[in-house]
Amino acid sequence: MRFDLALVASRLPEIFHALGITLVVWIASLIASGIFGFFVAVGRRFGPRWLDYSLGAYVELFRGTPFLIQLFLLYFGGPYVGLSLNAIPAGILGLSIYGAAYFSEIFRTGFEAVPRGHVEAGECVGMNRPQIVLRILLPEMTMLVLPASVNMSIILLKETAVMSVITVPELTLTISAIGTEFYAFVESLFLLALFYWSLVEICGWLGRVGESRLSRYRFAQS
């Protein structure tokens, strides 16, 4: 085993491009799944019974099956129903749908976790539904769902690696390809692991900072 830094250096631009792809795919999916997941949660919580059940089925299915299978269905099966996507859009769409299922549960729990008494207090002073959601539920929820959301974001970051299987040119595909080319599998994979590990640690740290910043809004009662 030898670790030739010169080799790595020569492919640095490629590696950074791959890092960029990873980050772009991740952030795009994060935003999409956050938004979509939120609306699913709202629809289930405040919408009619049939909406709750059908969205619930979607959530259960996409949380109960492997992400890889979902990607395969989308990327390889999609064209058969008229949905022909390139690797990157497929990756983003797949991760967004997957992530949204999880985020919807996080937000649903968040809705439940706001103490009923706070909502009742709002009702008693005459607020209507939208006002209660915007002025009470949402602000209080944000603090409550923050840890779980940070966790989920990190999970989604790690899941971007799975996209390498459908040829999305992100970090895993790129670095392991370089490794194959230079016959340095293990070194390149260690490098890859280090990349992700650092990214995850950074995100975790940012999350903790965010949580402590917001902790002054913590409840006096639980």
């Binding site: 099956t65 492997p66 395969f72 269905l73 799975v162 299987v165 890859l192 995850v200 640690e201």
Partner: protein, 213 residues
């Protein structure tokens, strides 16, 4: 979808369950060791344990699998790919289970241990008779959750050449060009297995409810 095709997938699904099951059990044992090391007062135990947990939770499972799959032959350990896969899965789940166990043990109410102190139970007796049963019960939901996660994660071992459910579907797709049917069927099988595990978990929780409604 013909009967034989589904039969093939079913067989592969059983293989998935076996691989996952072994990984969960091995991971649990390793996880207990890591949790104990993590809680130890000896720095030379606690710090490597922390690094272990941080690494195996911070690196994507796919990368871990690829790494171990390539690392083992490189250091002279030549094992079938399924063994490498199980090693990878076990180490990954061990890290998560270690954290779950740590949380479970920390959640044992202090008062129960004080009561044990007062009636004279030794540290070791407390660990075995009071802390372990209560911690296990507290950890159970997380354990079931982890089992389900491993079942889903096992789909990634297809990438290192293990012919479990996902790989079987892939292989069949290569010759038959029926991705929608194959992957939907595979997905369904995963879903059903996960539901079964969740139900088993609920049953276990009820058995250990100790009189709670």
């Amino acid at each position: 979808m013909t009967f034989t095709l589904f039969g093939l997938l079913l067989e592969a699904a059983i293989y998935t369950v076996v691989i996952s099951g072994i990984s969960i059990v091995v991971g649990f044992v390793i996880g207990m060791g890591v949790a104990a090391a993590r809680l130890s007062t000896h720095k030379w135990l606690a710090i490597p344990a922390r690094v272990f947990v941080s690494f195996f939770r911070g690196v994507p499972l796919l990368v871990q699998l690829l790494l171990i799959y390539n690392l083992l032959p490189a250091i002279g350990v030549n094992v079938p790919s399924v063994v490498a896969a199980v090693v990878g899965l076990s180490l990954c789940t061990a890290a998560y289970q270690a954290e779950n166990l740590r949380g479970g043990f920390a959640s044992v109410p202090r008062g129960m241990l004080e009561a044990a102190d007062m009636v004279g139970l030794s540290r070791f007796q407390q660990l075995v008779r009071i802390r372990a049963p209560i911690a296990f019960r507290l950890t159970l939901p997380a354990l079931i959750n982890e089992a389900i996660l491993i079942l889903k994660a096992s789909s990634l071992v297809s990438v290192v050449g293990v012919v479990e459910l996902t790989r079987m579907a892939q292989d069949l797709d290569t010759s038959l060009y029926k991705p929608l049917q194959l992957y939907s069927a595979a997905g369904l099988l995963y879903f059903v297995i996960n539901r079964a595990v969740a139900a088993a978990g609920k049953y276990a929780e009820r058995r250990m409810a100790w009189g709670r409604a």
